[in-house]
Structure formats: structure tokens, C-alpha cells
């Protein structure tokens, strides 16, 4: 089983190494760029708000990067199987669920590189910066959050990508139905806020996309 996992990991690395390398570089660079200028010796009280503003602006890139990495890695994991119409996979002496699990696990292992890059990059950025009194760094919290966001995004897109065209059609159909219901409700002047409800379910509380929301701050009060 371990040998099989190694083989799957190696093939998946070959297919997605560009994504992993570029993602790792970006993940390393974003924290460093977000704190650029924070080490200036002449920075006084005037610049604290500017610094926080810059960190907040750069912070929007973390969830975007997590989503992009999850999406691209999921597509890369299944691209070869889709191209070969799954004939190679069918010839393997292994159950489908094991095969999918190996693919999923290989993707998770490869995604560890950009997650580690966020942690190293943010730790390095904080070490080289002179933070104003009262501000604190959150390198570990940021890296943990990034890890969860990457894994959730990867799992969502992996599940969609692993499915058939019919599954994708059902998902798209559901989304279209929600939009249609909202449009009809608006036209009929019915007090129904499906978008708001969907937003609450998906983004708030324990929703699947809740980890993407909020402020992604490397430093804050």
C-alpha cells in the first residue's frame, strides 16, 4: 500500500509540480510583501494604521491563493484519468475507494508545501519587522487557517472533479434553481431571501466556506 501511495504521489507530483512550486513561492512571498516597510527605523506612530491597512489588503490574497491551489490541485489529480477515460485506473487491482483515497492523500501531502511556506514566510516577515507596541503577530494562526482553507477547497473541488458529468450537472442545476427561485421571488414581490439564507449556511457559523471569511491578518492588535 505504501509503495502504491508513493507511486501515486510521484505521478501526481509530476502532473502538478508547477502548481505546487508556484503556489509555494506565492505563499512564501505574500507575508513578506505584506510587511514590507515595517522594518523601517523611521516608522513612527503615524504609520501604524498604514501598516495594518497594508496587511489587511494583502490578507485578501490568502483565501484566493488557497482556493486557487485547491482547485488546480484537484483538477490536476483527475486530469490524466479523465483524459484516458479511467481505463488505466480500471485495470489496477484495487478498489475504487482505495484509489480515490490515494489520490486524495497525495494531493494533501503535496499541499503541505505551500502551507509550510506561509508559516515560514510569515515567521520570517515578523522576525525582520519592527512591530509598533500593542501589535501582535499571528503567524501560526494564519498558517493553520490557510491550511484549513486549502484542504476544504481541495476537498470540494476534488469531490466535484471525481464525479461524473451528471454529478457536475446536478450541482450546476441546483445553483441555477436557487438563482431562479430568487429571481421569481423578486419579480413576484415575495419576501424570500434565498441568497441571504445560502450565504448564512455557507459562510457563517460552521458552514463549509466559513474558514475563508473574516480578516486574514498576519499582525493585528
Amino acid at each position: 500500500m505504501i509503495a502504491m501511495f508513493r507511486a501515486v504521489l510521484y505521478t501526481q507530483w509530476k502532473w502538478s509540480r508547477l502548481i505546487v512550486v508556484l503556489g509555494t513561492v506565492a505563499a512564501f512571498a505574500i507575508p513578506l510583501l505584506s510587511l514590507q516597510g515595517a522594518a523601517r527605523p523611521d516608522r513612527g506612530a503615524l504609520q501604524t494604521q498604514e501598516l495594518l491597512g497594508a496587511v489587511q489588503s494583502w490578507g485578501a490574497l490568502y483565501p484566493l491563493l488557497a482556493t486557487a491551489l485547491g482547485l488546480l490541485m484537484a483538477i490536476a489529480a483527475w486530469a490524466a484519468d479523465h483524459r484516458g477515460r479511467h481505463i488505466h485506473a480500471l485495470t489496477l487491482p484495487i478498489e475504487r475507494w482505495r484509489y480515490v483515497l490515494l489520490r486524495f492523500g497525495a494531493g494533501v501531502v503535496l499541499l503541505a508545501a505551500p502551507i509550510a511556506a506561509v508559516f515560514i514566510g510569515s515567521s520570517l516577515a515578523v522576525l525582520t519587522a519592527t512591530l509598533p507596541p500593542g501589535l501582535q503577530s499571528y503567524s501560526i494562526a494564519l498558517a493553520v487557517r490557510f491550511a484549513f482553507a486549502v484542504f476544504v477547497a481541495y476537498a470540494v473541488f476534488f469531490a466535484v472533479s471525481a464525479g461524473t458529468a451528471r454529478t457536475a450537472g446536478i450541482i450546476l442545476g441546483l445553483i441555477a434553481a436557487v438563482i431562479l427561485v430568487q429571481v421569481v421571488a423578486n419579480i413576484a414581490n415575495i419576501d424570500l431571501n434565498v441568497f441571504g439564507a445560502a450565504q448564512t449556511v455557507l459562510l457563517l457559523g460552521p458552514g463549509p466556506l466559513a474558514v475563508f471569511t473574516g480578516r486574514w491578518m498576519l499582525i493585528d492588535v
Binding site: 486524495f104 484542504f151 464525479g163 454529478t167
Partner: protein, 362 residues
């Protein structure tokens, strides 16, 4: 004889302009007196108009009395009594014994149908409320519109807002913490780091002399203030050249421009929440009569009034205020445990969905 004549004529010549000056002063005084009497007449008329308007607004209304609260409102389904029962303890705990004076400041409400398009008579007294407000919203209205008893203009000017119960005290303190850390002022930073004298300076509780130096200590801060918020104000007329010099990092030019501002128009580095918290700390420390002592002497300095309200010296009070603010550091930006579990759960769930895919079931 001719010398005496010369002296008399010289004295009369000298007295002539003085006499005309005297008549000018007298004329101006008469004009001022006339203006004063006109102003008093206008004030009387305004009082009469207010009284008539109040009588019109409260005609056919009921009065609800809960504790010291008096609510004059037309009959409706608004849960005002229950809301007042909720709001009264909060209001009473803030104003203490002075809350007994609140019957002098009744609420005047008019409950209206929020869905009705029917035109209503315009009233200039009181507040219109939609009659479908729930208990919580109605209580909020009472808390946020209560009139602080004997709240004098000097205190209002310094505070920058009316002193009312805090709806979210912890958030108010956390906001002060954020201000102390992020305000673009070296004086505020020094206060954050423990310099109580600088805290008093930025809170403006002492005398107002040298406030520019106290509030904006460094040349960079003054330049930022002049070229930022006041850039347009100074860009025209006689100050344009000085502004140009200030933009070229000439400290004296920036300072001169800021000194030319009318008194009281220098922006405060700390928002009203910081001063509000200081007053709340003083009232909390001073017991039930603290508010009464705070408003007892409007002519005293703010520092003296706060000190008298709190029953302690101003240094101790400001130190307590700082400790309160520092203790209210906002929650760190870490993920909560349930959010972490939710993320792991969703990852596992979608992974499981992928395992159950029908791709191979041909």
C-alpha cells in the same frame, strides 16, 4: 494769560477726539443692548413656539411612568412599558441619584404605521416610532435617546457626544484599546506605554494651553495634519505659501498654520469613545452620587469635575482608565476550536463524497 489760553485750547483740542470716541463706544453699547433685547425677545418667542408645539405633539397621548422615566406616547401596541422596565435599571446605574431628575426630561414618541402611505402632520417635538418594533428594539430606543440630566455644554463639547448607557461596554473598551495602539500620535503611543501625564494631555482634561504641542508632538505629525485633513483649508488665500513651506518639511510653517486655526478646531487624536470610557470609569468609581457631582460645577475644569465625580485624584483615575482599556484587548485572530473542527469535518465530508462517486459503476 496767553499761556493759560493756550493750555485750555490744547486741552479742548485733545478732548475732542476722546469725546467722539466716547460717543462711538456709547453708540456701540446701545447697539449691543438693542441686539441683546432682540435676542431675548426671540428666545421668548421660541420658548412659546416650543411650548405650543409640545402641547400639540402630546395632545391625546398617554404617559407611561417607570422609575424616573416618563414616556408620553399615543396609544399603540408598542411594548413601551416592558421596554422601560428593562431600560430603567441600566439608566439608573449610569446616572445614579441624578436619575431621579429624569421626569424633567420626558420622552415624547409618536407611534406610526410603518406601512402606511397616509400623510401625517409634521411635528417638531419628539420622535416617530414604527409601532411594530419589538421589545429589544424599543428598549434600545429608550437607552439611546435618554436625555442626560443637567448635561452642560462644556461637558458635551469635551465629550463629543451625549453621555448615555453603553450598549456594548466591552466593545467600547476594546475600541479604546485599538485607538491607543493605532492612533497616529506619539502622545497617544506614550500614553499606551504608561505615561499618565501624556494620557491626560491627549484626553484634554487639564488646561488648554499648549494643546498643539501636547497633542501633536512631532514635526511629522503636524505636517501630516496640515497636508492631510487641512490641506484644502490652507491651500487658498494668504496661507497657501505657508502651506507650500510646510509641504517642504518646514516645521515652523506647519506649526504656524495649526496655531492659526480657531480655538477648539484642532482634531483630537482620540475619538469620543476614549473620553466616554473615562467618564464611565469616574462614575463607576464615584458611586451613586458621582454623576450629580460631575454636573454640579460646570465652570470647573474637566479634570476637576472628573476627579470630584470619581472621588479620587485625577492621576489615579486616568491610570484606572488606562488599565481598563488595556484589559479590553480585542480577541486574537485565532480560529475557534469549533471552526477548526468544522473545517476538518467538511474536508472529510467532501472527501467521502469523492469516494462514493459513481465513476466506476459502469
Amino acid at each position: 494769560m496767553s499761556r493759560v489760553l493756550a493750555l485750555v485750547s490744547a486741552a479742548s483740542l485733545l478732548a475732542a477726539p476722546l469725546q467722539s470716541q466716547d460717543s462711538l463706544v456709547a453708540r456701540e453699547r446701545r447697539r449691543a443692548d438693542s441686539l441683546l433685547s432682540t435676542w431675548r425677545e426671540a428666545q421668548r418667542l421660541a420658548d412659546v413656539a416650543d411650548s405650543l408645539e409640545r402641547a400639540r405633539a402630546t395632545a391625546g397621548s398617554d404617559t407611561i411612568a417607570v422609575g424616573g422615566l416618563r414616556i408620553i406616547v399615543n396609544p399603540s401596541s408598542l411594548p413601551l412599558r416592558e421596554a422601560a422596565e428593562r431600560a430603567w435599571p441600566v439608566i439608573d446605574s449610569l446616572y445614579g441619584s441624578a436619575a431621579e431628575d429624569l421626569p424633567r426630561y420626558p420622552y415624547i414618541f409618536r407611534a406610526v404605521d410603518p406601512d402606511s402611505g397616509v400623510r401625517r402632520a409634521v411635528l417638531h417635538v419628539g420622535v416617530e416610532l414604527p409601532w411594530d418594533l419589538d421589545l429589544r428594539a424599543t428598549s434600545m430606543v429608550l437607552l439611546t435617546t435618554v436625555t442626560p440630566p443637567d448635561f452642560d455644554p462644556a461637558l458635551a463639547d469635551w465629550l463629543g457626544a451625549a453621555l448615555r448607557p453603553a450598549l456594548r461596554p466591552q466593545d467600547e473598551r476594546a475600541a479604546v484599546f485599538v485607538q491607543l495602539v493605532t492612533a497616529p500620535s506619539e502622545a497617544v503611543r506614550a500614553c499606551f506605554l504608561g505615561d499618565i501625564a501624556r494620557c491626560q494631555g491627549v484626553l484634554q482634561i487639564g488646561d488648554s494651553t499648549g494643546s498643539l504641542e501636547r497633542l501633536y508632538a512631532t514635526p511629522a505629525e503636524r505636517e501630516a495634519l496640515v497636508t492631510g485633513p487641512f490641506g484644502d483649508y490652507f491651500a487658498r488665500g494668504a496661507t497657501a505659501l505657508t502651506l507650500q513651506n510646510c509641504r517642504q518639511h518646514r516645521v515652523d510653517a506647519c506649526t504656524a498654520l495649526l496655531r492659526s486655526l480657531p480655538p477648539g478646531s484642532l482634531p483630537r487624536p482620540l475619538a469620543p469613545a476614549a473620553r466616554m470610557l473615562l467618564v464611565r470609569v469616574a462614575l463607576h468609581a464615584g458611586g451613586r452620587d458621582a454623576y450629580r457631582r460631575l454636573v454640579a460645577r460646570p465652570s470647573a475644569t474637566i479634570g476637576e469635575r472628573l476627579s470630584s465625580a470619581a472621588g479620587m485624584d485625577i492621576d489615579s483615575l486616568v491610570a484606572r482608565w488606562r488599565n481598563d482599556a488595556l484589559a479590553a484587548r480585542p480577541k486574537p485572530l485565532t480560529l475557534s476550536w469549533w471552526a477548526s473542527f468544522a473545517a476538518i469535518g467538511w474536508t472529510a465530508f467532501f472527501g467521502f463524497c469523492a469516494l462514493r462517486s459513481s465513476r466506476w459503476r459502469l
